[in-house]
Subunit: 154 residues, 2 copies
DNA sequence: TCCTAAAGTTAGCCATGGCTAATCTTCTAT
DNA sequence: ATAGAAGATTAGCCATGGCTAACTTTAGGA
């Protein structure tokens, strides 16, 4: 599982039969798939950052209960985060965010807050706003995020 | 791959150590993971429905180019759609949506259009609106969708 | 101190959803 | 009518991200 194989590999024939709009649509779907790959990373670094602030450290058991997954799943994903340079750690020891990880966490937290504020601004209840923001935050482009911010100022 | 095993299986210990808010957060993440499972289904039935309307039929080669994936990937996913009751088909023959599939397609199309309209209403360009809607549409609750609609009427 | 419970880890399973290579069908144009 | 191209399928690979079961380490209390 640790073979660094790097295989996103856009299909060679993608868009070959495509009419003008088809390729744009294909790129859209590909972007969504790419977003999915970063979601776990973003969710983890954001949560780890929060836990370190609130509790002084981010224990796998707490990450697991916040994410609603089992500890082995957390361990596996932490290994990926470490492999990809977002955290550092040693067996049985604390988790630290790298600069990359901490920066990403801040960006995510910022985006998350804007989306929640925007949804509240639309009149939604706090619970729905939080819930939907969790799903939306990975799919909002910078342009749209800016539009959300602009709407808040009015 | 065709063993109907049904294994979503919420972790038995989920939220065990959790403080009050923790469980809500965990449920949120679980909901996002569940949404991911339906995404492909929704994207496919929506696209199939569009293709049937526009071209008279939905060929795997066209689905592939619209989705930006290879034909074998399409075939594999069509097998799942068939297994789960959204389409009917025979080898080398046309694809038909079941009632379930067609209904789902309509719901998705409706949601998609509202989101695009809402993003345009916010002042975004058509391309960004389309692009972001693709990612957002699977993560917008009915409440939020209603709020989007309400905002459009003003 | 030392024993036990909690936390962390490893191993191994499974479904999903990508891909390529190779094969098989269908269709079309000569 | 048939050959070759286009489309569809199969087989097989891989990474991801879930899970359980079993084991190891750590840490805390008697």
């Amino acid at each position: 599982m640790e073979s660094n194989n790097d295989k996103p590999s856009t299909p060679t024939n993608a868009g070959s039969t495509g009419s003008p709009g088809t390729q744009a649509q294909a790129k859209g779907f590909q972007a969504v798939r790419k977003a999915h790959q970063s979601e776990i990373v973003e969710d983890y670094v954001e949560l780890i950052s929060d836990l370190i602030e609130q509790c002084g450290e981010a224990r796998p058991v707490d990450i697991a209960s916040h994410m609603g997954v089992t500890q082995p799943t957390v361990v596996k994903n932490l290994a990926r985060l470490q492999r990809d340079g977002f955290i550092t750690r040693e067996k049985y020891r604390s988790i630290f965010l790298t600069k990359t990880g901490a920066d990403l966490a801040n960006i995510c937290r910022h985006r998350h807050r804007i989306i929640v504020a925007f949804l509240l601004h639309l009149g939604l209840d706090a619970e729905t706003a939080e819930h939907d923001a969790e799903g939306l935050e990975h799919h909002v482009s910078n342009k749209t995020l800016a539009a959300f911010e602009a709407a808040l100022e009015k």
